[in-house]
């Protein structure tokens, strides 16, 4: 028997989709990751499908995050790649942006959720096959497929929403 990773429904070995939630039950690194979200979140996605145009370019490589509902600005600099997720010392997972303090676990943030990476043109975000998916401006990302970020974009990890800003200084 196999257990659905999304909803824990038990299915026979060889079953391809969970009959209770529709989640994929076979291993395929190239396939889409489907987020299971509640209707409130889905509605927010619908309301936020406006693309925020990029203003500041990523000249110095300094970025900042602001989690929705807070005023904290979390600054990151000095690396070409930042891990977004939740701290787990037992498994030696230390994300650069640790969302444990922002109720990350309850909001459906995976320990290794996504990566933000610099390239010659700017900034990319990659969902690492997280349990509840990553969205940018209301678009749900395909796992392991880089997606270009712009200044002011809204990022959603599970249900936790935040904005990313490119800093000029």
């Amino acid at each position: 028997m196999i257990t659905c990773p999304k909803c824990s429904h038990v299915e026979y070995e060889g079953t391809l989709f969970c009959s209770e939630c529709g989640a994929r039950l076979w291993d395929d690194p190239a396939a889409d990751s489907t987020a299971n979200l509640d209707s409130k979140t889905l509605r927010e996605i619908e309301q936020h499908t406006v693309i925020v145009p990029g203003r500041t370019t990523l000249s110095k490589g300094k970025i900042a995050f602001r989690v929705h509902g807070t005023t904290d600005q979390i600054r990151l600099e000095g690396k070409t790649e930042y891990l977004l997720g939740r701290r787990d010392p037992k498994h030696n997972i230390v994300p650069d942006l640790d969302l444990s303090a922002y109720n990350g676990q309850k909001q459906g943030v995976s320990r290794r959720h996504a990566v933000v990476r610099r390239d010659e043109r700017g900034l990319l975000i990659v969902d690492l096959g997280s349990a509840n998916g990553t969205g940018v401006n209301g678009i749900t990302l395909t796992a392991n497929e880089p997606f270009r970020l712009r200044d002011g974009d809204e990022i959603r990890l599970g249900k936790l929403a935040m904005n990313i800003y490119f800093l000029a200084d």
Binding site: Y12, E13, G14, F17, E20, T34
Partner: protein, 484 residues
């Protein structure tokens, strides 16, 4: 008369098989299908066919006669099967395996369009008054204009009683036929049994073994108390070679009933959102009927011992669930150049060693151009047992199953509503909406979102929303896949 099924396929040997090969194959097939060892209800029928094939092929003279006399078949039907896995695993627990079965027909030469024997059964209850009935009458008139000389067309109108508006005889005079149809006026209740009985009688009167015999039911209402009798009548019609299709107009009609009625004969059921769409839907249906090569197509799935057919779903054309308990599976008509796709889900109780037989498939159909009935084509499903990791399943299976799972999910949401479990219904609808959004179907997802709101506020769903979601998710199954 062609000899059907192919005796070599039936035994599972090549045409060049030696007498020893034939003996061995017979003993293996007998073990699979002998009623003493296989409890499947259709096993004894398959066993008789295997025994007959053995009788003919094990006798040198009869075999030579068979090889010489194997008449060129009028049409060739192929059963192409794709499995979800390349092997079973040697484990002590049940394993699921899916097969996509594509049935298609090709004709060796120019294929003549078969004549039609169609009866249109129109609901004329009070609620049909106005644009609905006007559009239906206009659609019927258009069909009459398009009839070919050999076609037979009749019209029955019903409310709480039925009336033959136009017999097949009377439709020969087209202008008189159109004016007869224009006299239908609305009034009364909806008793579908009345309309069905009269419509089937008309089809029997003009029955033709070489024609496509079809009853098209158009209704906007619910029938009360006579559902079981209607279903029984449909089962009898199917045995006579008549297919029933259902078209529901508006939101009040009983979708489950119409689905079951059509499915009992292998016909299709559809939802007409607005009256003007009637014309196109009807014209499309009649056009498709004209391409029929074989009708009364059935798929008999004979499971090997220890195998269970858990579910069956017609993926194309006209997607819809099939009942594994109601074998053979009724698949309606097989059209020229078209493929009938069925998704089967099996449960293998316990994998043995070597090659594991899963099931024998028999497609059975009546070939129109020669008027022969119960022609049979076969294929075997089998899998090796191996202790290695599973490969990624074939894309065709994934795509079909993904959409079928979504359809089942929304059906389960309605079941939860009916069972009074609002929280469960909401959760299931949210998953449907989430999958629709991920699948780039924002419009249908929006319809689901509105129903989630409605459930939250009133613990109810709207009849319109439910039908749009049900037939919307069903239409996705047949829709061409977008390649991203």
């Amino acid at each position: 008369m062609t000899s059907s099924p192919d005796l070599y396929t039936c035994l599972g040997v090549a045409r060049t098989a030696s007498p020893e090969d034939i003996q061995l194959a017979f003993r293996q097939a007998a073990r699979r299908f002998h009623p003493d060892t296989n409890p499947d209800p259709s096993a004894s029928e398959e066993f008789k066919l295997v025994a007959h094939a053995h009788d003919v092929l094990s006798d040198a003279r009869q075999r030579a006669d068979y090889d010489a006399g194997a008449a060129p078949e009028t049409i060739v039907v192929t059963l192409a099967t794709t499995g979800s896995r390349e092997h079973l695993r040697p484990v002590d627990e049940p394993q699921a395996v899916y097969y996509l079965v594509n049935i298609s027909a090709t004709a060796p030469a120019v294929f003549p369009a078969p004549p039609l024997n169609v009866c249109l059964v129109i609901d004329r209850s009070t609620s049909m008054q106005g644009p609905r009935l006007d559009q239906v009458k206009a659609a019927a008139a258009q069909l009459i204009e398009g009839l070919k000389p050999n076609d037979q067309f009749s019209v029955v109108a019903f409310s709480d009683r039925a009336e033959v508006i136009l017999s097949a005889q009377q439709s020969r005079n087209k202008s008189a036929a159109v004016s007869r149809v224009s006299t239908i006026s609305a009034g009364g209740g909806t008793e579908i049994l009345q309309g069905l009985t009269a419509g089937l009688q008309e089809l029997q009167n003009s029955f033709n073994g070489r024609a496509v015999n079809q009853l098209v039911l158009l209704t906007d209402g619910r029938t009360y108390g006579d559902e079981d009798d209607c279903l029984l009548l449909a089962t009898l019609a199917e045995r006579d070679g008549i297919t029933i299709s259902g078209l529901g107009i508006g939101d009040e009609w009983n979708d489950e009933f119409l689905d079951r009625l059509a499915a009992a004969t292998g016909g299709e059921s559809n939802y007409i959102g607005s009256p003007p769409a009637v014309k196109k839907q009807l014209a499309d249906q009649l056009h498709r009927l004209g391409n029929t090569m074989a009708q009364h197509l059935r798929l008999q799935v004979t499971c090997d011992p220890g195998i269970e057919l858990r579910s069956a779903f017609r993926v194309a054309p006209n997607p819809g669930p099939l009942l594994p308990a109601m074998q053979p599976l009724r698949l309606g008509n097989l059209r020229h150049g078209d493929t009938v796709s069925v998704l089967l889900e099996f449960l293998v109780e316990k994998a043995g060693v070597g090659i594991h037989n899963v099931a024998r498939l028999s497609a059975i159909s009546d070939v129109l151009s020669v008027g022969s009935t119960n022609e049979r084509w076969q294929a075997d499903l089998q899998l090796p047992v191996a202790d290695k990791p599973a490969a990624v399943p074939p894309l065709a299976i994934i795509q079909a199953l993904d959409k079928v799972t979504l359809y089942h999910l929304q059906e389960k949401a309605w079941a939860a509503i009916e069972g009074g479990d609002v929280a469960m219904a909401t959760r299931r609808l949210e998953r449907v909406a989430s999958k629709l959004l991920a699948g780039n179907e924002p419009e249908l997802a929006g319809v689901v979102m509105r129903e989630i709101d409605r459930v939250g506020n009133t613990q109810q769903v709207s009849a319109e929303g439910r039908k749009r979601i049900k037939y919307g998710t069903r239409a996705l199954i047949a829709a061409p896949r977008d390649t991203r």
